[in-house]
């Protein structure tokens, strides 16, 4: 049993509304964990407490035994937590390769170097990372010219640059075509398996969730209402209740998303 992340009793209220209430979970090495729930369930709040953007009112988050609460996001990143964004955030005035190089430069604490050529630093490693996400042929293109799916893959490469133990992915497939979603998540799953990275991700697309998540946590109104594998969650009456009665809803959502 190799626990990477322990979240305990996380709670957060915004002006009297309890966004997350007493939420706890563990994450094992190499595990692919999905965090789902209807809109307003507290997924994003929860996510932001893990990556340091929000400070919980109560509770603790421990990464390999070290407390993360109260630590700034960029320090958390340095402790080995990578992340991707719901809407991609990249350096649009740089090339694809340079984007990855920047992550490496920061990881190696070379940001204050005034005399090296940034484009010559950590090139090989950056190319390897791009290869990992099959972006090598785009390496010298301007980031601003990329298709959205490619930006997502670039973000993944950036997130892997500092060999993280944990990857936080906020709606990794949002805004993508269904075929791309499957490809991206398959790629992610493969990398995760190979590199023994643990992943927590939130997701709307239930196909993606059921296809790849090792374990699923369901949040509703800030509380954990269910936990289990894909099939366990599918069968869970409380989950069906939350998603407005009946497993049909999952299909309906899928159709809506693919329309």
């Amino acid at each position: 049993m190799n626990t990477v992340l322990e979240a305990r009793n996380l709670s957060k209220a915004f002006g009297g509304i309890q966004a997350v209430d007493d939420f706890s979970f563990d994450l094992r090495r190499g595990e692919f964990l999905a965090l789902i729930g209807p809109n307003g369930a507290g997924k994003t709040t929860c996510f932001n407490m893990l990556n340091g953007y929000l400070k919980p009112d109560r509770g603790s988050v421990r990464l390999q035994g070290k407390e993360l609460v109260g630590i700034r996001p960029r320090k958390i990143w340095r402790m080995g937590v990578g992340r991707t964004f719901q809407i991609t955030e990249t350096f649009l005035s740089m090339t694809v390769l340079e984007n990855v190089q920047m992550a490496l430069i920061s990881y190696h604490r070379r940001c204050f170097d005034l005399f090296s050529r940034a484009t010559r630093l950590y090139r090989d490693r950056a190319e390897q990372l791009l290869e990992l996400v099959s972006m090598q042929e785009h390496a010298s293109r301007a980031c601003s010219e990329l298709a959205y799916g490619d930006l997502k893959r670039l973000e993944l490469a950036i997130a892997l640059a500092h060999d993280p133990v944990l990857l936080l992915m906020d709606e990794p497939t949002a805004g993508m075509a269904p075929s791309e979603r499957v490809a991206l998540m398959a790629l992610t799953a493969e990398i995760v398996a190979r590199q023994q990275v643990s992943v927590v991700f939130t997701e709307h697309d239930m196909d993606v969730v059921f296809a790849h998540a090792h374990r699923i946590l369901v949040l509703n109104r800030g509380e954990l209402i269910a936990e289990g594998t894909g099939s366990e969650i599918r069968e869970n009456p409380m989950v069906q209740e939350v998603y407005l009665g009946g497993g049909a809803v999952f299909e309906a959502e899928n159709e809506a998303a693919s329309a």
């Binding site: 350096f91 005035s93 920047m102 940001c111 301007a142």
Partner: protein, 618 residues
């Protein structure tokens, strides 16, 4: 008691005057995101027109108010003309580029006004029926002040009704909050912008016209009001008309009381208030988050290292430049030193604005600190010239370190205005504190050491320092630090997510740019032999800004081209009569031909030539 009440009324009357001009500026910025330097000119023209109309009509009270309104309406039409012929063509240019165009317009207006109305200040008539004073609690209060006190809130109410009760007003408010949304709704943006500009110009004209019973109409009106108007807009929050009124009242009433206790403070008071407000509320009193940035623009292209061919051309050009003193006369050598100083200054500003994404309206502060530090070290501390060249930029860097700490907490136009506040506070202190800085009489006798006093030797000294400085910042732009700054500019979120302390890096970038500007100031001080408060004045900052934007903010070569062209043209054009109108037209032509700056224009030109050639051979 009556005394203080009367002082309050005086403050409120001034507030109305300031509000009228600031409200137009705020509305224009809110919707079109144009920083309108020509707003003061519109105000001035409003005053001149009102003077002519009211004097000509001589119809008593009716004639006065009619004259004021007609003057404002004409200024509104002038605004329409400016918007349709110039600004409309460059809305998609990089952020803030439009201010270069408005600067050109400002120059043209200065000469046009001089040509039409002559040089002498004109004293307009007082407002008929409001030319006396009333006694309130025993204190005499000018009747016209009372009228102004009423006019301010009335105009505010009028704008409020316009924005709440008309479809156009609703669109303007929507555009202030979210431009893309309005565009998506299928509203004709061009007309919305035109109408906004007309309204803003009308208000500026009205503000000017209403001043004629209070002050003489003069050619200095444009520049004397524009700084304060910006301050009011920023304190109130960009785009917020109510904010502009509250800010105008705050500044005017504070000033009315402050001069009773500490009269010297007037000159810097608005800037001190602005600095405090921005430090506590980064978007001004009523501004919304996101109100600080201009229209989104095309992302910049990735930087490329220079190819071998480019390197060779560059080295050849440098060699020719280095040999130029042998070929040209002494005066040209002196002019080239000026060009190098301006270029180094522009490059340092570009490092901050273009690379670092921190727009500065007050970069002259560090240029001036460098110049003054050099002058004081040589004259008062007796330090030699060479150590001074190293120490003075360090002092400028220390100044930038101090002010930068506050500035990097903000972004966009608010950051720019805080840099302006820093520069203006420094300028005010330097200008007024005669014992320490020599005040307006400056510090003279700051000439190079004996061995470097000939124009040629000094040219080479300046060459080493300036070209060295430019090379260093170019190198820095390609370094991890430069890339980090560009990364933060592109996406602060992404930068933080890869472990970059964005604020700290910006702070250091700010400091570095300040130190290099200080080096430019140091070279400047020795080349001119004297320093005056002008070296940290607003005109110096604006010159730098124009050089960077005119040259092209998206290219490393931009500031170099911009500075060279600017200094050379200025040196040539000032020999002519009415040179400001010529200079203004040149700027407008460049702006319209190359909305991405000179560097961008040249790139496009070369691209076209290449395309034609390829077409020819194929």
């Amino acid at each position: 008691m009556g005394f203080y009440f009367a002082q309050l009324l005086t403050g409120l009357a001034n507030a109305s005057s300031l509000f009228l001009i600031a409200s137009g500026l705020s509305i224009i910025f809110g919707v079109t995101r144009i920083v309108n330097f020509a707003h003061g000119s519109l105000y001035m023209v409003g005053a001149y027109l009102a003077y002519t109309l009211v004097s000509a009509m001589d119809l008593g009270a009716f004639g006065f108010w009619l004259g004021v309104l007609v003057a404002a309406a004409i200024v509104g039409l002038i605004g329409l003309l400016i918007e349709m012929t110039i600004l409309r063509r460059i809305y998609h240019a990089p952020e803030l580029f439009q201010l270069v165009a408005t600067f050109g317009v400002l120059l043209i207006f200065q000469d046009a006004t001089l040509a039409i109305w002559g040089a002498q200040d004109l004293l307009g008539p007082r407002a008929p029926g409001l030319d006396g004073a009333l006694r309130i609690m025993g204190e005499p209060i000018p009747e016209y002040d009372l009228a102004l006190i009423a006019i301010g809130p009335l105009v505010l109410l009028g704008i409020w009704l316009l924005f709440r009760k008309t479809r156009w007003g609703v669109l303007v408010r929507a555009a202030t909050q979210d431009r893309e949304m309005v565009a998506a709704l299928g509203v004709n943006q061009a007309w919305l912008f035109s109408a906004t500009f007309v309204l803003g110009a009308f208000l500026a004209g009205l503000g000017g016209a209403l001043q004629i019973p209070r002050e003489t109409v003069s050619l200095q009106m444009d520049l004397s009001v524009i700084g304060e108007a910006f301050v009011i807009v920023v304190i109130g929050g960009m785009g917020s008309v109510t904010g502009a009124y509250v800010a105008a009242v705050l500044i005017s009433v504070l000033n009315a009381f402050a001069i009773l206790i500490f009269p010297q403070v007037s000159i810097v008071l608005p800037f001190i208030v602005m600095a405090i407000v921005l430090t506590l509320r980064p978007h001004g009193l009523f501004g919304a988050a996101g109100s600080e940035h201009g229209a989104p623009t095309e992302p910049e292209q990735p930087l490329r290292l220079m190819g071998e061919k480019g390197m060779m051309i560059l080295f050849a050009a440098m060699a020719v430049f280095a040999l130029s003193p042998v070929i040209v006369g002494d005066f040209t050598t002196v002019l080239l030193v000026d060009v190098m100083v301006a270029t180094l200054f522009a490059v340092s500003l570009h490092f901050m604005m273009g690379i670092g994404g921190m727009v500065s309206f007050g970069h002259a502060a560090y240029f001036g600190i460098g110049a003054y530090a050099a002058a004081m070290m040589v004259k008062q501390l007796g330090i030699g010239m060479l150590p001074t060249i190293f120490l003075a930029p360090a002092v400028a860097g220390a100044g930038a370190l101090f002010f930068g700490w506050f500035c990097v907490r903000l972004s966009g136009v608010y950051l720019a205005m805080l840099t302006l506040a820093a520069a203006q506070i420094l300028w005010g202190i330097t200008f007024q504190w005669q014992q320490f800085t020599g005040g307006d009489d400056g510090i003279v006798g700051v000439w190079p050491a004996g061995w470097a006093s000939s124009d040629k030797v000094y040219f080479y000294l300046a060459f080493v320092c300036c070209i060295g400085g430019i090379w260093f910042l170019r190198r820095a732009a390609h370094s991890p630090f430069g890339y980090t700054l560009r990364g933060i500019r592109d996406s602060r979120t992404r930068a933080e997510a890869i472990g970059v302390d964005s604020r700290f890096h910006q702070w250091m970038g700010f400091t570095l740019a300040g130190a290099v500007a200080g080096l430019a100031g140091t070279i400047f001080a020795f080349s001119k032999g004297s320093v005056f408060p002008d070296s940290l004045g607003i005109a110096q900052s604006i010159d730098g800004l124009i050089m960077v934007l005119l040259g092209g903010i998206h290219a490393l070569a931009g500031p170099i081209l911009g500075a060279g062209v600017f200094v050379m043209i200025e040196d040539w054009v000032t020999r002519l009569a009415y040179w400001r109108v010529i200079f203004g037209i040149i700027i407008l032509v460049v702006v319209l031909l190359a909305p991405d700056g000179i560097a961008g224009g040249i790139n496009r030109l070369f691209a076209r030539i290449r395309a034609v050639r390829k077409g020819g051979t194929a």
